[in-house]
Symmetry: C2
Subunit: 488 residues, 2 copies
Amino acid sequence: MLPYQSLVLVDRANVLPVYKQISTRLIGLIQDGIIQPGVYFPGTRQMADLMHVNRKTVISAYDELLLREWIEAVPRKGYRVKPQLPGIKPRSFHPKNNFLPAGSPIAKHNYDNIHTPWKRQITNTDIVVNDGFPDPALAPFKDLSNLYRDSIATEKILHLMSLPDEGGLNLLKEAASSFLNETRGLNIGKADMVITRGAQMAIYIAASIMLKPGDNVVVSDPNYIFANEIFAGTGANIITVKVDNEGLDVDELAQIPLTKPVKLLYIVPHHHHPTTVTLSATRRLKLLQLIGQFNFHVIEDDYDYDFHYNNNPILPLASSAHNGNIIYIGSFTKLLAPSMRIGYLIAAPEIVKKAIHLRRLIDLRGDTFMEYILAKMIISGDLSRHINKANKLYAQRCAFTCDMLSRKLSHAVEFTKPNGGMAIWLRFREQYPVNKIRDDAARNGLLLTGMAFHQPGNPNGNGIRFGFASLSEEKIEWAIDILLKILK
Amino acid sequence: MLPYQSLVLVDRANVLPVYKQISTRLIGLIQDGIIQPGVYFPGTRQMADLMHVNRKTVISAYDELLLREWIEAVPRKGYRVKPQLPGIKPRSFHPKNNFLPAGSPIAKHNYDNIHTPWKRQITNTDIVVNDGFPDPALAPFKDLSNLYRDSIATEKILHLMSLPDEGGLNLLKEAASSFLNETRGLNIGKADMVITRGAQMAIYIAASIMLKPGDNVVVSDPNYIFANEIFAGTGANIITVKVDNEGLDVDELAQIPLTKPVKLLYIVPHHHHPTTVTLSATRRLKLLQLIGQFNFHVIEDDYDYDFHYNNNPILPLASSAHNGNIIYIGSFTKLLAPSMRIGYLIAAPEIVKKAIHLRRLIDLRGDTFMEYILAKMIISGDLSRHINKANKLYAQRCAFTCDMLSRKLSHAVEFTKPNGGMAIWLRFREQYPVNKIRDDAARNGLLLTGMAFHQPGNPNGNGIRFGFASLSEEKIEWAIDILLKILK
């Protein structure tokens, strides 16, 4: 018999379990030809004594070798190395990567049409102009850091965390609902609200609850593309309505329910995505009237309500009478940092109930620490101060960007200065297709990761979002200079 | 004309926008009877002069009042307070909560059957015995705190965060895949993996990709209930197979594909949820053979692989040949803290591609700071040390709990000491229905939030999970003493 006790060494400090160490080593010995094909292993009891391990450990090691088909069980004789073994490459053994392209077919699925509107290229010197994200330099990371050090608060949060989640921390739902009442003319309570990971999850949940295959959902064209992909994923039919400088064309919308039932409308009235246009007051009135008349549901995505630069925001549709038909969605992520993903969904009670349930199935609970600190920021007024400060900074950056664009790129781009938000919708003239610009920019160290559309014939069909909020004036100028070079 | 300039005061420091302050105050004046029904407002230009605000602000304020139907436009004359106003309660005005029970019907949906297997009752003195969560006292909160203070690391992370998410931070996917290769006998790379928010999201994504309405999915009975709810939500048919002390009954499973096509099997072979039973080696072999024979997909949920108390874990099915049919799911949440939700899904390339896409639609990106710190913990070996430390502690608590249960509750409960994990599956004798026990316990300050099943006739049909890992021995004894009082 081979001197297994010296050939197979067990290291109890190793993170690899003992049986696994044994099985791996035995495979190595077989591969190296030290244990020959057809050779019988010692019985499990004998091997356990040799190795000074529990017999169960040896059984597990042998089971492992059986599973991997290195050995076979011979009735009444024990385990032996398989007489025929597949070709082995000595000295380079690794377990097989078993995650091969699937043997059996996968259902054709609506998520097939992956739209990836960016080039992924990374170097540390690249300038990234994103879709319109906040400047994380303003993020309350220090507060978070302090919270994780605060043992009394931690104790409290851990207690809260030991309880099942009911659509977000109660403290946050209370604080957030009164913040929304103050700033948006609502009168909701915590029971009307579900906390989510950002507005994205809120849209996903709303769509999953409301839409069945074959339902009709109306969206703008162009539209926030990840919303369209969610709707497509539910099997609903997407009907598009054009957008002009007053926002969604409500007259075009009004025609649709005359010929087919509309289940849901998705709209971003405050600063439309991607074009940043604000829905005009006339159209808002008309839209509210249509909701009453045709009784369809509306997802009102108000992700950047808090960012308006001239004290002149438009209250959400949700603050008017809508008979429970509006699902109001917003985000605190834009107020904090892209990593601090907290959003919300506000809706009629039966929708909230379903949303809490689905939220839990998707992701048992949120980040209780993050939810706690946001609640505290709202209650202390820090959040409002933070918003005021950010608004001043972003308004400056917006003005600076528009000024630079007008001075340097007016031969190639058109845009309307937005009255808020974190991005400008740049429309390029026809001779500059946006996809080519993006490729050229990437080659010049400028990553334009904002959502872009290229659809000849559509007045908004050759544009990209230019997120200025997270960039210093120096970087904004640098980015525009690169564009100038490309668009000359 | 009324002295609007003194009646309506504008506070520019208020977080409420100016127009909103004006409209809210005007509504108050109407309600208080100071502005009478039928009275005409000053023109917008005049009002703007009076208030020292931009005319647009006044237009917005008037639009607001129009929307809320306090005033009406009279052609060529201007705006007047509506002659007929609905009954007003002076001094208690709030905007209306418009989120009433929805006016139009909501589609009947599979998420209707909400199962809430707990009583929600909270006081600070309650003992909570959960489903089997880690002890957050071991969580690396201090490391997180330091990371949020580390400006160099923050800079780096913010750069990573500026780029679109491709299924998780690359650094983490690299570290995690080599960690899994070392501990689980896999040979995967970062491209085989998607990072999710915990195992829950991974199950949700896998089910959403794989299942269509009418597909057959096989699960154990009882099963992890949130998995069942996810499967029900897809419209798939759920077929159940019994569980005994060797785990899922694979012989019963083998009969199913003979009469109907099986699309997917969901299994927790290492420590079955809820019963904690480990699938026997014989059944594992048989199951792998069935996968090959009938070519169905399998979600292998291995959420607590790392917690085994006797160096004797069973390697996942995914480490054997499965022809790309296994979707392997795990979690780092159990290693860290319930708030640090990071899990993963490992699968064949076409499944990973869809999963990355769906992940983004559900929740644009994960918490990059959290993903970063986990990657660093894996690379430095801190995670392995953390696991070893936690395992020692949990093994002690498990032994202590089993000892207490045997000594104090053997007249009322049966259980098998698990060889790992964070919970014990307590089966109560028939005369003690688990739902009643839970209610009685809650009244005595003991919240049993673990998953419970009550299904007379099923040998596992009167049980609850008793999560010991997060409790001190003192609290464990306290909890068992309360149970003793109830079960006398």
